[in-house]
Symmetry: C2
Subunit: 494 residues, 2 copies
């Protein structure tokens, strides 16, 4: 797929005339929340609530049936009781609606009867040429189209680059809150539910062609169609990283997935093999999934696994080193030449070994400009991990009480920090070498926000930055192998 | 040790007359930051800055030498260049100072010459009967005494129950920021540095006797005196949980620790054996260390490893289940009796299997009161993991637009939530069964803050709550074994 317009998902993610079937004016109704959310996100298209009795829903004119809507909706969202979903879908088909999101649950995930009901939906859809996501899903979010059918208000970044495909609706919608902590956001997010029609493979293909999507995140409970998944992922991951969290590899996780989306799981070994074959990086938690997506969506490929850890605090340096080692990276001793250059900036109590430890310094320029440059320029290093937690709080407290050569006011100090961040980010971005930062500070600290918004991931702990660097390395190795195979015309597994 | 007053650490943590040797009025001076911080935390004792030339330091009268201080300080903090530390310590001894914190570095961690200088410090101390922490440390924090000699302002909870002992100063001081994210705090925190005199074992003994300390956290790069450590830890962990993060088990971590605090590390296998023998739970990252401390410092012991996961979202339920399984816990099928009771509260689209999944509901009372009660009362369950992310945002948005039987205004809604939190916490606390919550929301959401302040840990992801429950289980097993051995009078390893 070259462009997203060719996909059945295109209209589902970019509707202009939307029927919402199942919203009311009652707060305890799920459809009401969804419609409220669609409106709150300032959706630009037409919205037609459908309700058998109400004249108005949340202030909008309502229609007794989708057939009475004065135009043909290009997307219908169905959130009605299980037993009438088929009938409503049928009416959509008769009306000429060709794209549907079925939110309602109670199908394959709830047993044999549900399985039959799901089959019925599929037959109706086939008859009318309807393409749909769900059932048992939370819908989609596409910030660029100001379209969010999920349960939570989209408050994450509008510049998001993570394309998310999830068998759990929560990991589309509740995760907005998590992304917002880091200034991250979705390019597009799709809750696939039971995948009766449109499946994960189709979504991967779609997001593979999406220009805003720099990395694809997957939450998987079990694959229904492994062959399609493997073929599509192998193709897409040659050019775009894919990260997957899979929960079906344990007894408890597998049972949970089965009752959640009726997914068929298999052992960790099998899935690890599949992921490797597909060039997919595995994550073992949702936090890890988004940590890895952050790194993979912003940083260049790694040439090897030789990493430098740069810190001004011994402990964070040591935990980063320990975690890097466990993540398959190596911390080489630095070359004599590099050590010589560093010597000018690292005090005697510091360390020129790797980790490079500044210990105590008050020269922010050494930390943010001079030392990073030396490390980025060292050809023996493939990536840089940098811990920082500039003690701005004390600086602010001491301003006016103690002497400083650099600045006399808080404003001067802040401006100084921001220009340092800009120089730092510019230098890192131009180097074509991965650099991941870490800090216990969060975005409420101005300079962390600046760095993150300039495209430098600042992971919330040294260990997490090291693990994310490990993911970068694994992705680079797998991607190179896939592209090499492709050039040789010799597919693996054939 | 029965009470903390008998420890040499008591005066170091509770000084009344403090000499600060090495602060100036220059911002780029580490001592200045420390003194500024001591003053900013509203320390109640007397403070005597010592500086060879200045008349005033940060507004306080300064003395040319510690000998000129008009009284005998009960604690001296030394943060001067390496080469004059011994001389300053000597002067302290002559003055009659018997407790010292040596912040200055450049000793054992920097090679043979440094090792000799450190030996010299020890001899001076022995001669005068001085007990000290450091060198190469960041000092201590004792919020209850409003005493903080570290680099960062203490902004974490004043009700902290975590006693921290660290070979990294950062993990005493920079971690305030991390603790504050969760409403946590230190009871007392000690940066041991090179442990020339007072070592980790002495600190464990001290915090073992500290009533405010409910759990002890350790950051270890390498043990200098394993026998003392083992003996003390085995004794203390019979009554108080100990959690340790150790970084010396990897090649990179070991090297980093050596250049940081001159620590001698050993393999993971050896340390895992030591930790097991001591009843210490190991953590593999700083985040994990504090997650575990949170759980162990607030929750009762676990009788077995049978856990229920309760969720209103399938994905978080499945990731918690998967992580619980990997952490050594089991998710049993629920008894017929419990399922029958749950049946009244879980909708048809939900699941009565384990995880118990509410799917969509708007009855917060079912989530917060009725279902937790059933699970807490089930004798076949040893612990409860609960994911929640109440969609209050949408409730607020829909107030006034849609109908609600329960409340008409935002205030009513907030009050309703808060009383639910109170009932929830009361029920959980009275059950004598561990319950850990998780949510992607943070403390800026009112009901999360309420729950946390009521003593319910709300971990930042389902997986982290499951891992922390695993730590609770491991601690319970080890503690029971240690106490059983003690009753039998048969020490392990003998």
């Amino acid at each position: 797929m070259k462009t997203i317009e060719g996909s059945p998902l295109y209209r589902i993610m970019h509707p202009n005339r939307l029927a919402v079937i199942g919203a009311s004016n009652s707060m305890v109704n799920m459809g009401t929340t969804i419609l409220g959310n669609i409106m709150a996100f300032d959706f630009k298209g037409e919205v037609y609530p459908v309700h058998p009795r109400l004249e108005k829903v949340l202030g909008l004119k309502a229609y007794a049936s989708v057939k009475e809507v004065p135009t043909v909706p290009d997307l219908a969202l169905i959130v009605v009781p299980t037993k009438i979903v088929a009938q409503v879908l049928q009416e959509c088909g008769e009306k000429g609606v060709r794209h549907v999101i079925i939110v309602s649950g109670g199908f394959r995930e709830s047993g044999e009867e549900g399985k039959r009901s799901e089959q019925e939906l599929l037959e109706i859809a086939k008859h009318y040429g309807i393409r749909f996501t769900g059932p048992n899903c939370i819908g989609v979010v596409n910030p660029g189209h100001r379209f969010n059918t999920t349960m939570f208000h989209y408050n994450a970044s509008m510049e998001g680059f993570i394309g998310m495909i999830s068998q759990s609706g929560s990991f589309i919608t509740q995760i907005f809150i998590h992304l917002d902590k880091f200034g991250l956001g979705f390019s597009q997010g799709i809750s696939v539910g039971n995948q009766a029609d449109i499946d994960i493979a189709a979504c991967i293909q779609y997001l593979g062609a999406c220009e805003r999507t720099k990395v694809i995140g997957l939450y998987i409970e079990g694959l229904s169609n492994p062959d399609d998944f493997i073929q599509t992922s192998r193709e897409v991951s040659k050019n775009k990283p894919i990260v997957a969290m899979y929960v079906g590899g344990t007894k408890a996780g597998s049972r949970a997935g089965r009752s959640h989306t009726g997914a068929l799981s298999a052992s960790d070994d099998i899935y690890n093999g599949v992921f490797r074959q597909c060039g997919i990086v595995r994550a073992y938690s949702l936090e890890e999934l988004f940590d890895f997506c952050w790194a993979l969506g912003t940083q260049p490929l790694m040439k090897g696994n030789q990493v430098a850890v740069f810190t001004h605090s011994g402990g964070p340096g040591a935990t980063a080193a320990d975690a890097a080692d466990r993540a398959g990276l190596e911390l080489p001793s630095l070359s004599v030449n590099t050590q010589k250059k560093l010597h000018n900036y690292v005090p005697r109590t510091g360390s020129l070994s790797n980790p490079i430890d500044m210990t105590f310094t008050r020269d922010f320029e050494d930390i943010m400009v001079h030392i990073p440059r030396i490390l980025l320029e060292d050809d023996e290093l493939d990536g840089i991990l940098m811990y920082f937690l500039l003690n701005t709080d004390n600086f602010k407290r001491l301003l006016g009480k103690a002497e400083s050569a650099l600045f006399q006011t808080l404003e001067e100090f802040e401006m100084y920090l921001i220009q340092l961040c800009t120089r730092f980010a510019k230098q890192a971005k131009s180097s074509n070498k991965p650099l991941l930062g870490s800090s216990f500070l969060q975005r409420n600290e101005r300079f962390i926000r600046e760095l993150e918004d300039l495209g430098i991931p600042i992971l919330p702990s040294p260990e997490r930055s090291a693990k994310a660097m490990g993911a970068l390395y694994r992705n680079s190795v797998m991607r190179n192998a896939l592209n090499l195979e492709a050039r040789k015309g010799r597919p693996q597994g054939a």
